[in-house]
Amino acid sequence: MKVFVARDAAALAVGADRVAAAIAAEAEKRQQHVTLVRTGTRGMLWLEPLIEVATPEGRVGYGPVTPADVPSLFDAGFLEGRPHPRRAGQVEELPFFKRQTRLIFARAGLANPLSLSDYRILGGLHGLDRALTLGPEQIVAEVKRSGLRGRGGAGFPTGIKWESAARAQAARKYIVCNADEGDSGTFADRILMEGDPFTVIEGMLIAAIAVGATRGFIYIRSEYPHAIRAMASAIEIARREGILGPHAAGSNYAFDIEIRVGAGAYICGEETSLLESLEGKRGMVRAKPPLPVVSGLFGQPTVINNLVTFSSVPFILAQGGQAYADMGVGRSRGTMPVQLAGNVRHGGVFECAFGVTLGELVNEIGGGTASGRPVRAVQAGGPLGAYLPPALFDTPYDYEAFAAHEGLIGHGGLVVFDDTVNLARMARFAMEFCAHESCGKCTPCRIGSRRGVEVLDRILAGRDREQNIALLGELCETLRYGSLCALGGLVPYPVLSALKHFPEDFGLAVLPSVAAAV
């Protein structure tokens, strides 16, 4: 009998290894033959440690399981999917799972993520096969047709980026995968690297063929030791199996990938700062233009995309750009892995087509708060995203609808807060974080964020509140229009949205005019 237990860092963090060991020990004690398969996570993290067994009706899950539950699971006959208080049901029939459209995460949690043969059986490498028959120009055309936009935050059309890089003339071009997933409330990159690393490799290789690049880098943050190990093993296997190398997948294209580990700087998630870091420099933001597609890594044309962007490409090539574009709304096509995080009952990765409302995501899919208290605010799009109140929960999840409310899709994170949160303190944290992580190149961000902390401290202490709030408004304007990159440029969003939607936390009875303009 096969028993599936995730080896994802989030599952390990809540005891998956101890549960797996308990299952092995109990099976031996009972002289029952059990094969443990360590998988990625399905993304339903509130159920972790989740154990699954294959039954004729499909895989049945039990979770969250503790080692103490294991003997009773055997007694109850969990190997046959029988009832037990921890039985969650058929995994793929759970509402959280069933309501998803899993393209990027189609394989996550199903099998051993480091088995290339499993990857193939589960539909992997079909995109690559088709890319090889299409050739560079048609690959770019498919990606353009898909309407895919960069999933790192900026939402730039991927096909157009690739087209520019393909046109650039250079002796050497680079593919850089941004896996410096620093936004709080995001973990899609991490789960993919741990749960389906070959998808990342396949997406990068397709990009390399499209633009004529020979070298690839994956820049992974140091806070992700498990993802680094999984990705390194997958690259090693891909090299051994000839997917990477001088004749990538048996073709005449040469491509190889090297992993680079970050060093704890949030700013290195910004693409030009990341390139500086790869070159061995301080992660200082570059002025644009020139864009990386013209002059990127070591001054060469470079396609730098987010890991989720690359991982969306195998589906697009396998099924065609149109199949991808058929999902979504407006100019937000395809699927997005929404990451429900923080004080949320059902936290995890929920991949769906754009267009679902924020309220559906938080209340129906996320099930409200973990604490059981009322939801007060949701921070969408990471530390630089706005705090949105339940009054805006009818906002559809798409780039333009969010932008209309000064919100950010970003990398897809949603952090839920209950009614114990103080939004003035969160606004202060946003400024403090910006000050901590500023690269220091431009004055508004380097100095403005420090002044922002001070101004908010005065507001929190109730000193000259009206004047300080006016000052905060001016400071935010300077940051927004005067900063070189998104760190300083976007930090006004969490600050001013907190002020706009939650003025009472700032000691104000009415909405101040500086925030009304946001």
């Binding site: 860092a9 963090a13 806070e223 923080g342």
Partner: protein, 164 residues
């Protein structure tokens, strides 16, 4: 909880031969400085100041350039950490689950501040801004092992175990 914690890697004293070997082993990389700094920290528990001129001369950089890179990144330390390193997440998702109060309680109990090491050298507590474990908050990393849904009591138990 595991009965014996894994120790923080090595804390060897600086020696030039080892440092030079590490630097030279990384020269095959394009842009080798970050891999070199990571490898030095792995070997010595920190990036020793004495290594900076060696790196500078090998990579044909100024000492100021190298020093600038070492000090830019939060990961690189100038002195080795304690025998165990506990990284506590302070980012928004963990805050929504009460991480700040837990951390304050632990730091007060240990008598240290963020980045500090206990007087007996057993434990360093460092802030980290997101571990990507945001649906199992509050999160921590103890000697590289992830921990989720960590309450204040569990933190204190871990600290007590680290002291043994």
């Amino acid at each position: 909880m595991s009965s014996s914690l894994r120790r923080n890697p090595s804390r060897r004293n600086f020696d030039e031969i080892t440092a030079r070997k590490i630097i030279e082993a990384a020269l095959g990389h394009e842009g080798p400085l970050l891999p070199i700094l990571h490898a030095l920290q792995e070997a010595f528990g920190c990036v020793p100041r004495e290594a900076e001129p060696l790196i500078a001369s090998t990579l044909n950089l100024t000492r100021a350039d190298v020093h600038g890179v070492v000090t830019f990144y939060h990961d690189f330390h100038r002195a080795p950490a304690g025998r165990h390193v506990l990284k506590l997440c302070r980012a928004e998702a963990c805050q929504s689950m009460g991480s700040e109060a837990n951390a304050r309680r632990l730091l007060d109990a240990l008598g240290i501040d963020w980045g500090g090491t206990t007087a007996d050298g057993s434990l360093t507590v460092e802030p980290v801004y997101c571990l990507g474990l945001c649906a199992t908050s509050p999160s921590a990393l103890l000697d590289g092992e992830p921990l989720g849904r960590v309450g204040a009591e569990q933190l204190e138990a871990l600290a007590a175990e680290a002291k043994r």
